[in-house]
């Protein structure tokens, strides 16, 4: 397989299956995406959103039921996985338990009948890259989780695949190791420049690794954008929720003026920024806890502190405002339960979307 390809094109890639009662369900619905060489793409979404399905379709482990996948001008969606030659790192690593770590890493080269001395050199290079030199003769069961993960990465990259696919590779590791391995994956991507598609449900992971993030929900793509844009400007309320906009309030949509909209109801009046076309009588505002602060400023809201969750540098507090709305606020200001406070939010950081139907 040509590793000097220009782009991987997914055109309306779909995957349907029949559920036991005979209905046709779309696990993945018309995913269209063009990935340039060297890009790091994250498929991000909650479990069941179709991200792993998408990855398995690209790898060839699941047949597509619609659409095409092509590498430059060549259609590949009908090829079996062993003919595509994409490297894949599995969530549970899928190391071959009966082979030494060296044989695991050499497996792909063995299948390609690579000459012995070239194989030796490439395997040694892969071990050096993932910093596991010296562990070659161990069995996978004798390694720690993080080491196993690095073997899985070495095994996938040693074949120099045009495309590297990773399926939640860090979800089985503890928090500290996860951060280390994340940095490791970024370093390896920088060093090799391999086109990578990375599946995760962890937005921090996606934000820190990806060149572009594909946010998915219920088999549908919600937004495709760079990390900063996905973080600051979620395209719809689902993406906003997933990106940590924990305060979601549906109110009456009032006066509109050049993208600004005023929401009223429940004893509140908040000015926000419309992110989508608002036509209905109601609208939903999404606000991050970090974007609300205590003190004077625009959008003043009076409330009473109901709960304080101490978090060191910053605390997460719940403030009851208006008639009975509870706002989550992250603040460095020290307050106590029962305190009366005035909150302020910049109208740019109040993102307004069409009202969610019965959400």
């Amino acid at each position: 397989m040509n590793s000097n390809f220009k782009e991987l094109r997914l055109a309306a890639v779909s995957r349907h299956f029949d559920n036991p009662s005979g209905q046709r369900i779309a696990a993945l619905h018309e995913l269209t995406l063009t990935i340039g060489r060297g890009e790091f793409i994250c498929l991000l979404g909650p479990s069941g959103c179709g991200k792993t399905t998408a990855l398995n379709c690209i790898a060839g482990l699941l047949p597509v039921t619609g659409g095409t996948i092509s590498l430059d001008e060549r259609r590949i969606d009908l090829l079996p996985p062993e003919k595509r030659g994409f490297g894949m790192v599995f969530q549970n690593y899928a190391l071959f338990p009966h082979m030494t770590v060296r044989k695991n890493v050499a497996f792909g080269l063995m299948m390609r009948h690579t000459p012995a001395d070239e194989m030796k050199a490439r395997v040694a290079r892969a071990f050096k890259l993932v910093q596991l030199t010296g562990h070659e003769e161990k069995l996978p069961g004798q390694l720690s989780g993080g080491q196993q993960q690095r073997v899985a990465i070495a095994r996938a990259i040693v074949i120099e695949p045009p495309l590297l696919l990773m399926d939640e590779p860090l979800s089985n590791l503890d928090a500290k190791l996860r951060l280390e391995m994340r940095a490791e994956i970024r370093r390896i991507h920088k060093e090799l420049g391999r086109t990578t598609i990375y599946v995760t449900h962890d937005q921090d992971e996606a934000l820190s690794l990806a060149d572009r993030i594909v946010v998915m929900k219920d088999g549908l793509v919600q937004q495709v954008a760079g990390p900063e844009e996905v973080y600051a400007q979620p395209s719809n309320i689902h993406v906003a929720r997933f990106m940590g906009y924990r305060n979601v309030i549906t109110l009456k949509a009032g006066a509109r003026n050049a993208g600004r909209v005023t929401l009223e109801g429940q004893g509140l009046g908040i000015e926000g920024t419309a992110k989508q076309d608002l036509s209905g009588p109601q609208a939903t505002a999404a606000i991050r806890p970090e974007d609300i602060s205590i003190g004077a400023g625009p959008n003043p809201i009076d409330g009473k502190v109901e709960n304080v969750e101490y978090g060191g540098h910053e605390s997460l507090i719940d403030v009851r405002v208006g008639d009975s709305v509870l706002l989550h606020v992250r603040t460095g200001t020290r307050v106590q339960t029962g305190d009366e406070v005035t909150l302020t939010i910049s109208p740019e950081r109040v993102l307004v979307y069409p009202a969610e139907s019965a959400a």
């Binding site: 894949m88 190391l95 071959f96 497996f107 069961g141 899985a152 696919l165």
Partner: protein
């Protein structure tokens, strides 16, 4: 001193294994030891007389060879068939349950019922014979009962489901992601089987072989009912039976039983020794 006393004091938890130990002593160790002792106290002659008699009388020592000739090929056949069929059924499909049920039914029948069925089906005037003659496919007499072939068929029918069930549980215990990982690394279906499934299945295959062999080696009812017990299928268990219940020579019967056990042990030890050289760890692909 007190430390030593404490160490010698039995742990009360050990009492929990007492029922199992008693059971083993009463129903296995004691009868085995008694039979062993009995085999060395012949009715006449010195302590080795039974064994000397067994290995000098062709009518007797040939039974060992006949039993091996029956049980080894049948076991290889059963295990060899069970492996590919279980492998093909490793994925949960709608018809997996049906095929499994169908293949397992013979286990519930018992050898006598199987022999009964074989006589009406495979016998000289059985359905198979009548059917073939009706269609003029084969007009000669069909001899699949009361001979060596009859016992082979019977052992295959009763032994296969056992091998199949064991192999199915070994096959489905292997994480399918391993084969998928091998596929992404360039291994086609054959290489996936050869490099991943087969090495991980071999220990289970050895175990299945041992159990199936021991079962086939102790063949008795089908050797009498659908075999030719006076000649070609005169198996070793038959020799023991004759000694015990026709000649009432319990000592000789015990000696035959000891020889039978020893022959089984040799095969099992060889297979398990080969198994030791294989990878026998977990068959998962990592954490999770």
């Amino acid at each position: 001193m007190s430390a030593l006393a404490a160490r010698l004091k039995p742990d009360p938890a050990l009492l929990l294994v007492a029922p199992a130990v008693i059971f083993l002593l009463l129903f296995f160790i004691y009868p085995f030891g008694y039979g062993f002792w009995l085999s060395f106290t012949p009715v006449e002659g010195d302590w080795l007389a039974n064994y000397r008699k067994f290995f000098s009388d062709e009518h007797l020592w040939r039974t060992v060879i006949i039993t091996f000739q029956l049980s080894l090929p049948v076991t290889i056949l059963n295990v060899g068939l069970a492996l590919p069929i279980a492998f093909q059924l490793r994925r949960k499909t709608r018809y997996q349950r049906w095929v499994t049920t169908l293949l397992v039914i013979p286990i519930t029948l018992g050898t006598v019922l199987i022999a009964e069925g074989m006589l009406t089906y495979f016998g000289p005037r059985g359905w198979l014979s009548q059917f073939l003659q009706l269609l003029h496919i084969y007009d000669g007499p069909i001899r699949l009962t009361h001979n060596f072939a009859g016992v082979v068929i019977s052992l295959a029918i009763s032994g296969f489901p056992f091998c199949f069930l064991l192999m199915l549980s070994y096959v489905t215990g292997i994480d399918p992601t391993l084969a998928r990982a091998a596929a992404t690394l360039g291994a086609g279906p054959f290489e996936q089987f050869r490099q991943i499934y087969l090495p991980l299945l071999l220990p289970g295959l050895a175990m299945t072989f041992c159990l199936a062999f021991v079962q086939a080696f102790s063949v008795f009812p089908s050797a009498v009912l659908v075999g030719a017990p006076s000649g070609p299928t005169r198996v070793i268990s038959l020799a023991a039976y004759e000694a015990a219940f026709e000649q009432y020579d319990y000592s000789m019967a015990s000696a035959v039983a000891m020889i039978m056990g020893f022959a089984q042990l040799i095969v099992v030890v060889i297979v398990l020794a080969l198994r030791r050289s294989l990878y026998r760890g977990p068959v998962g692909g990592g954490k999770g």
